[in-house]
Point group: C2
Chain length 198, copies 2
């Protein structure tokens, strides 16, 4: 566990910068927060923090990756429908990170963007996991049939993402509500406690 290899401290410092950056974007918002401001919060010069990242967009991508990991750690690892609802509710406390997510997703539409692979993978995994949960629920009769899980999954993901756009501009919108409404439409009923998943 002690220092081993020359990269040991480097990784720690890199993680520290990431953590600080996450906090800065959460507190001060994404728009108008320059790398120099982030660097100042880390007590470093701007090239100082860029020693650990390829580019600004690389740093932003890592921030979103860490946000996902933090959320995954806060809840039980395998994403379930109730935990998805919780995560959506939690994001209401960090509008700056939602802003960062949406902004970077738009920029990442370019195939050559550093975050493109991240978003592609993220959406793919989320859709697959979601589809699994929905398939289980359908098989157990806890959810309406009518649409196959592979079609329901992107739909549910779209609701989760899309309601964010409305919420950003009108904070009185309840994001959890919208997601829950979709499942009410599906006549979803929770799994029995002790069941493997949901």
């Amino acid at each position: 566990m002690a220092k081993r290899g020359p990269y040991r401290k480097g990784e720690a410092k890199r993680a520290e910068i990431l953590e600080k950056a996450l906090e800065v974007f959460a507190v001060e918002g994404y728009r108008g927060t320059s790398l120099r401001k982030v660097a100042a919060q880390c007590g470093l010069s701007m090239p100082g923090i860029m020693h650990y990242f390829d580019s600004r967009e690389d740093l932003l991508t890592q921030v979103l990756k860490k946000r996902d990991e933090d959320a995954r750690a806060r809840h039980h690892d395998p994403l379930t429908l109730p935990s998805a609802l919780e995560i959506i509710g939690e994001s209401q406390h960090t509008p700056g990170l939602v802003e960062l997510f949406v902004s970077l997703a738009a920029a990442a539409s370019d195939t050559g963007h550093p975050a493109h692979a991240f978003f592609e993978e993220r959406y793919r995994v989320f859709r697959e996991t979601l589809a699994q949960r929905l398939e289980e629920a359908q098989r157990q009769g806890r959810i309406r049939a009518g649409l196959p899980p592979e079609r329901l999954a992107p739909l549910a993901l779209a609701v989760a993402d899309g309601i964010q756009l409305q919420w950003m501009v009108d904070r009185s919108i309840d994001m959890s509500q919208a997601f829950a409404d979709l499942f009410q439409l599906l006549e979803w009923v929770p799994a029995e406690t002790g069941e493997p998943s949901d």
Copy 2:
């Protein structure tokens, strides 16, 4: 109809710039398209085009406003569910404008942003109009009950917006399909031809 008043040419020129800017963003994409490039396409210097707009973000807002107006003009004015489906399908041909829309929506989460009022109004009007169509459809039994129109409207809007994020990163996604799937879930059936609306 002829020139009347000193502002006559100004408005025409302004509209011309807007039209050209819309085209530039549609063709070349949003990211990496500077005001100087737009200006060059207009045969003007950058301060030249800024004579007609308060700021870069003001110009971008007007571009999105014109995009909405163009879409509204292409279809019958009162938004119906089938025409909403068409508009979503059409946006697949202009990824640069989708990128612009999402990017600006994120930035406009700031209350002081020039586009904030535009998005607030846009979402409000869309939700209200959608809710009206859904209410009619429910009353005529052409759509499942279970959720009131005021809750269904933001949900449908979220699907339309959210599927864009997935599509931007994976162009094989069919945006119209996702929107149609929601209405399949609602067991929606089209209004009779000759009916007032849908």
